[in-house]
């Protein structure tokens, strides 16, 4: 193996769409580790870090941000053509972000409320993940992404191995760490069971419930969790709101939000809520 030659360094670019830049900031937050990476990869385009502009082709392109406008939609197709490996980073790029909450709302109304001249604002009615438009080769989820997972992905790309980005519930990390479950011991609603691990148990370590910023895990059973919260006495709209977070637009969070009226002005579907609660009613020890 050994170090790659200077002439053979992969070209890496970072592109941004509708996002807060937090994931790009995570790349910068690597600090010294970023320098080590920059010795092995040519970072040719990185708006957060440098005014130097470049263009493709890219061996690896990191994309932050959701697709929210027509211009972005066209641009992402161009970027796809120029990239060997396209990696989406963060909740916006992988799930549409918090701004995807507008996907349940009246877009024109939003524009009119926020902007003095709504007619000057061109945007799609929905904020959507990049994968809805182009083929994505890999993704780093999270809001923001985890620095250690970022380094893991880069290391795997450089050395040729499969990156360790487990698709398992956050609960595994809590238990390995020895954190006491906030839901079981304190009745604090936590989405950890249906959320993908990777954050290092940030929220439960500080006595709050996970709010799903790493997105739904493999085959997440959101309906069961929703039913449990309902039986605990949390009103349906509030349960819906639990799922209406940074990754609300990905299934199965999306359906939970829709059916439970998790967004402003929406009406919960009583039948769905009842079916979810009924899953546990038979064997559930109320209280």
């Amino acid at each position: 193996m050994g170090r790659p030659e200077a002439t053979a360094r992969p070209r890496l670019g970072v592109a941004k769409f509708a996002s807060c830049d937090g994931c790009q900031l995570q790349v910068l937050n690597l600090e010294d580790a970023l320098l080590a990476i920059a010795e092995r990869i040519d970072i040719v385009e990185f708006p957060e870090a440098t005014t130097h502009r470049s263009s493709g082709p890219y061996d690896v392109l990191l994309i932050e941000g959701a697709i929210s406008t027509q211009e972005q939609e066209e641009h992402v197709h161009k970027l796809r053509r120029e990239s060997k490996l396209l990696v989406t980073i963060g909740a916006c790029a992988t799930a549409g972000g918090i701004q995807a909450l507008r996907n349940w709302a009246n877009h024109d109304e939003f524009r009119a409320t926020v902007y003095a001249r709504p007619e000057w604002i061109e945007s799609h009615a929905m904020s959507r993940p990049v994968a809805d438009f182009v083929k994505v080769d890999a993704e780093l989820v999270g809001c923001p992404i985890s620095q250690s997972q970022l380094v893991e992905l880069v290391t795997a790309l450089l050395t040729g191995r499969r990156p360790y980005l487990p698709d398992e519930a956050l609960c595994l990390a809590c238990k390995r760490k020895g954190t006491v479950c906030v839901t079981v011991a304190k009745g604090i609603p936590c989405l950890g069971e249906v959320t993908r691990t990777g954050c290092g148990v940030l929220c439960p370590s500080y006595d709050r419930g996970c709010y799903g910023c790493f997105g739904p895990r493999e085959q997440a059973n959101a309906k069961s969790l929703a039913g449990h919260f309902l039986l605990e006495g949390i009103p349906d709209i509030e349960v819906g709101r639990l799922f209406a977070g940074f990754t609300a637009y990905n299934e199965p969070f999306r359906t939970a939000v829709t059916e439970l009226g998790g967004t402003r002005g929406a009406t919960p579907d009583a039948a769905w809520a009842e079916a979810a609660a009924a899953l546990h009613r038979g064997g559930h020890d109320a209280g």
Partner: protein, 170 residues
């Protein structure tokens, strides 16, 4: 019929025909009078390797029982050329479209090796099957078995079990 196999068909020597039929799993141990009736509908021919015994789409005038040699079933995939989807070994049949409407060959049958074939006349066999219940009772199960065997093979081939399944980059 394109590229007709040895059309200098010898008059069927019934006894040796029946013996040859008996040596195949398709035709083995048929009731004696069935064998005789089939013998009258049969001719036997040999063909060199490379002979197109039946072309895809053309009327299948004969149901062939392979006594020896290998026959390939091929179909045209324009971007890839002729693809062999199955080979028919001694004992097995080809051209069963001769007894299944609309009586057109569903693939091309090409001899891969020199072949020795007992060919049952299509129209004659169809007429005999329609009128002769004992013949029908003896033969249709065999045809069904040959097709069922082929169907289960097709299913396994379709599953592409030996394919390497790498989804995505990792």
């Amino acid at each position: 019929m394109s590229d007709a196999p040895d059309t200098a068909a010898r008059p069927a020597d019934e006894a040796s025909l029946v013996a040859a039929l008996n040596s195949t799993w398709f035709g083995a141990n048929l009731p004696p009078d069935t064998q005789v009736r089939l013998g009258r509908l049969a001719r036997r021919y040999q063909a060199p390797a490379g002979t197109v015994l039946l072309a895809e789409g053309e009327l299948a005038n004969e149901l062939g029982v392979v006594v020896s040699g290998r026959v390939s079933l091929r179909t045209l995939v324009p971007e890839q050329g002729m693809i062999t989807i199955l080979t028919v070994e001694p004992g097995d049949i080809f051209g069963q479209s001769a007894v299944v409407p609309p009586y057109r060959a569903t693939s091309s049958c090409v001899a891969l090796q020199p072949v020795d074939v007992i060919a049952l006349d299509g129209p004659g066999l169809r007429a005999a099957l329609a009128s002769d219940c004992e013949l029908a009772a003896a033969l249709y199960p065999r045809v069904l078995q040959a097709l069922a065997r082929r169907l289960s093979a097709t299913r396994l081939q379709m599953l592409d079990l030996f394919a390497s399944r790498q989804g995505g980059k990792w």
